[in-house]
Amino acid sequence: MSELQREAPSGAARAIVAAHGDLAQGLVNAVAVITGEGAVFHALTNAGLDRDSLESRLREVVQNSGARVVFTDLQGGSWTLAARRLQRTMPELVVVTGTSLPVLLDFVYCDADPAAAARQAVERGRSSLTSVSGPPAAAGA
């Protein structure tokens, strides 16, 4: 299967996960393993697509799925820019950048409208980002 074809199946997804390489598919797979609700998301890769193709592909998936939230990885990445362009004609579209697994997991279980669910998921993602150090070394070790 070529990189251009490597996408999650379409359907009535509530949101789109659009990321570099295989990241989107990996995140959606992880959501499916944890919750069994992978179908909530439609995964997109940017492999092989230029600016215009990214925007038209995203428009097509948004229209076909009815999804109103696009989760992207990098704030300055090509999917984020494509999604922001799409907002010109689809102002109801919500774009979330810096997406992580906790963000998606929260979105799965939130029954609020898409924009509110996205806002809540962002807060969950922020709060789950931590740096944990080990205990101090024992004296004399």
Binding site: D50, D52, S53, L74, G76, S78, R84
Partner: protein, 162 residues
Amino acid sequence: MTIELYRIDDRLIHGQVVVGWGQPLDLRFIVLVDEEVAASDWEQELYQMAVPPGMEVYFESVDSAAQRLPEFRADSRAGLVLTGDIETMIRLVETADGIADVNVGGIHHREGRRQRLRYLFLSKDDEQQLRELAELGVRVTAQDVPASRSLSLDIILNGGET
């Protein structure tokens, strides 16, 4: 410092540019040469949002970029000059002096293009334009990110390595 890279990339500013090149080269400014973007406040706002704090973007037409190139080259910070297509880079090379190397960083799938590299799809016209660029005395190489191998135009046009 100077202009570290003259790059053709049809995604313009995106992850590979900002992070892939931006981090190792410590890029502090990008000169985005594109007539359409230079004429659109909305597009400029979009690209401004795409760069991290501490990185500046200058939006230029070919003519204004050529005019300001000495100023950019004299900048103490490291910079990158970016066009979205080969034709714009050819016009820039013809208008400005001293562009010796051009990096082809991303030309993606479109009807009529054949895949040469993972990130490089070329039509016959694209190939001809790359040859034109080389005939202007420019060393043309393909490389998407610093960690990948830099490939000469000969290698690209004679099969590439998919």
